[in-house]
């Protein structure tokens, strides 16, 4: 059976052709429901966004052509957008890489444990990212009155006498958003790492020990990382996409709009122009820009990761 797969006989070739002929129709039928929805709700919106970005559109009237006007306004007249870009880059550059390395590091730690404890630790690290709106609790921890837990702690220690308005202070807002985002960052990519580490071929480690690998760091660098390249690439995609889209946490923690726009990101800017100001053309220009930024940075990082170990 195995052998015959290497060299297909004439009989098998004939069968293969027959299979080829018959299978396609049914396969397309199987894929149709998913892909029709996928095209309507994912591919089409991207295309519509590309076009709407060149129009003036307020929902009530038909869109009118505006050319590059939206983009020109975005870059040369919209000061708030510049703040949004600055914040988005700050959040992405800090939470993206740290979240990525933390996901790997803790997956690697967890992998050292015995299966039962490993399951418990995986749950503890993963839980923040699945617990729905539970991050609302951070508002209470950083609450500006003396019942805010951080304030109570600081007052108790005598570090301050007055409660600090954490969530109203533009200096602290970005730090708090980054902290909460990092708290939630061990998500799907963390699970991918935990799973990837468990599926690394054990015999590689034994062979490495014989070949003179002395400690866990060398083992990580020479054996584990190269065997996990596909997971490294997958998790990078997840992490980059989510760190560029930070908005929900920023709005819930710092308020919307936040004090001096300290928690304003490209996505919250998009939400403002799309859902509140009803400037759909303008919002589409923001969305289109974000689409290319996300895709571009993902493809760039994929290119870099591809080079790991080659």
């Amino acid at each position: 059976m195995q052998l015959s797969h290497d060299k297909p006989s004439r009989e098998q070739k004939r069968l293969a052709r027959k299979i080829e002929f018959h299978k396609n129709k049914e396969l397309y039928v199987l894929m149709f429901p998913y892909f029709s929805l996928f095209f309507v709700f994912t591919v089409l919106p991207v295309a519509v966004s590309l076009v709407l970005a060149f129009t003036y559109f307020n929902v009530l009237e038909m869109p009118t052509w505006a050319g590059w006007e939206n983009y020109r306004k975005l870059f040369f007249e919209d000061d708030v957008f510049m703040v949004a870009i600055k914040n988005t880059v700050l959040f992405a550059v800090v939470t993206g890489p740290i979240g990525y390395f933390a996901a790997f590091l803790f997956a690697w730690f967890v992998n050292e444990l015995k299966p039962k404890i490993r399951a418990v630790m995986t749950l503890i690290f993963y839980a923040p990212s699945i617990s729905g709106g539970a991050y609302i609790i951070w508002r209470l921890l950083f609450s500006g009155d003396m019942y805010g837990y951080l304030n109570a702690f600081l007052i108790n220690l005598g570090i301050t006498t007055e409660p600090i308005q954490w969530l109203q202070n533009p200096t602290y807002i970005p730090i708090i958003i980054i902290l909460v985002q990092l708290w939630m960052s061990l998500g799907v990519s963390f699970l991918a790492f935990v799973a990837g580490l468990q599926s690394v071929d054990r015999t590689l480690y034994e062979a490495a020990a014989v070949d003179g690998i002395k400690n866990r760091w060398q083992e990580l660098w020479f054996i584990t990382l190269p065997s996990m390249k596909p997971q490294l690439m997958f998790s990078a995609v997840i992490q980059i996409t989510s760190s560029l889209a930070i908005s929900e946490v920023a709005m819930q923690v710092a308020g919307f709009p936040s004090v001096e726009n300290a928690g304003h990101t490209i996505v919250t800017h998009l939400i403002y122009h799309g859902s509140i100001a009803f400037e759909l053309g303008y919002a589409s220009a923001i969305a289109t820009l974000l689409f290319f930024v996300m895709l571009g940075s993902n493809l760039l990082v994929q290119k870099m990761l591809r080079r790991v170990g080659t």
Binding site: A192, S199, M294
Partner: protein, 304 residues
């Protein structure tokens, strides 16, 4: 002879026994010092991770006076169910009863999740096990679609929903959830590893692709179903309906949560109670399906 010998295993010190519990599964190339450092670092961050959750659990059971003592306490001293009773009373007084929000969330979550698992599996089988015209391109599009998220498609999404007449219907949340791309991606990668021989022999035995998909492939990818289930469940469980649902009686539970949370400091206990409920359900589902999820995620990698 045996009885006369001392049995060292019985005299293990506490430290040794502790080490045995936490000892790494793999002892090659591992120093004891390194193990201890690693465990300490891990415990520090596990505390950071768990602290807010413990806080919610504790607050949910605190009586009113304990919520507002200074300095605030992490653990509850006299646990009570007051906050849960308040929550139910609060929602009973509101225009839309709590049960209606629960029903909306359950309906959206269950229908959306089941539909997603079935449709994504149906689409994953051809992509994973067959090559045909367009198969390469479709697989690539799915990978590209992981590289941007829903915030990019929100505005045109709204325009499309309006055109389709789906605003203010459950379908506005459910239909896009069916076509969630991470699910198809994971399912496809998991199906790739099914031996092709199984499918070929079933074909020779006269099965068509619908039968092969349903009777042979689906039973083999059970771990992936559970993974798609939890990922889709999480996304839908937390959905607020935002820009698609304006009718109050159709809004989901997490919308009610954010409304209550906006109610100020006096609602601290009630917010903790509803947050606890919102987080308990996905956590329980994850605990029950963890092993299957890890098994699926092992195949999550992007191959070159």
């Amino acid at each position: 002879m045996n009885a006369a010998k001392p049995r060292p295993q019985k005299q293990k010190s506490l430290a040794k026994r502790l080490m045995n519990v936490i000892k790494p599964a793999n002892s090659l190339n591992r120093s004891v010092g390194g193990d201890i450092v690693l465990l300490i670092v891990m415990l520090v961050f596990a505390t950071f991770s768990a602290y807010p959750m413990v806080f919610i659990i504790s607050n949910a059971f605190k009586p009113f006076n304990e919520l507002f003592i200074f300095p605030p306490q992490l653990f509850v001293r006299n646990p009570t169910l007051d906050n849960f009773i308040d929550l139910i009373n609060l929602m009973a007084d509101s225009w839309i009863p709590l049960t209606r929000y629960v029903f909306n969330t359950l309906l959206i979550t269950v229908v959306g999740t089941v539909g997603h698992v079935v449709l994504a599996s149906m689409a994953a089988y051809p992509l994973a096990k067959h090559t045909f015209k367009g198969s390469e391109a479709l697989s690539k599009i799915i990978v590209y679609s992981l590289m941007f998220n829903a915030s990019v498609t929100a505005i045109p999404g709204y325009v499309i929903m309006t055109r389709l007449g789906l605003i203010d219907t459950y379908l506005a949340i459910i239909l896009p959830a069916f076509a969630f791309s991470l699910g198809l991606y994971l399912m496809k990668n998991f199906m790739v590893q099914i031996p092709t021989v199984y499918i070929e022999s079933a074909y020779i035995d006269g099965g068509n692709h619908f039968q092969i998909f349903w009777k042979i492939v689906m039973p083999l990818v059970k771990p992936a179903w559970l993974t798609l289930t939890i990922l889709s469940f999480q996304a839908l469980w937390g959905a607020t309906g935002g820009q698609y649902i304006y009718d109050e009686s159709l809004k989901p539970l997490s919308y009610a949560l954010s409304q209550i949370a906006g109610g100020g400091i006096g609602r601290t206990g009630v917010v903790a109670a509803i947050s606890l409920f919102m987080m308990t359900v996905p956590v329980i589902i994850f605990v029950l399906s963890q092993a299957s999820i890890i098994q699926t995620m092992a195949h999550s990698g992007i191959k070159e």
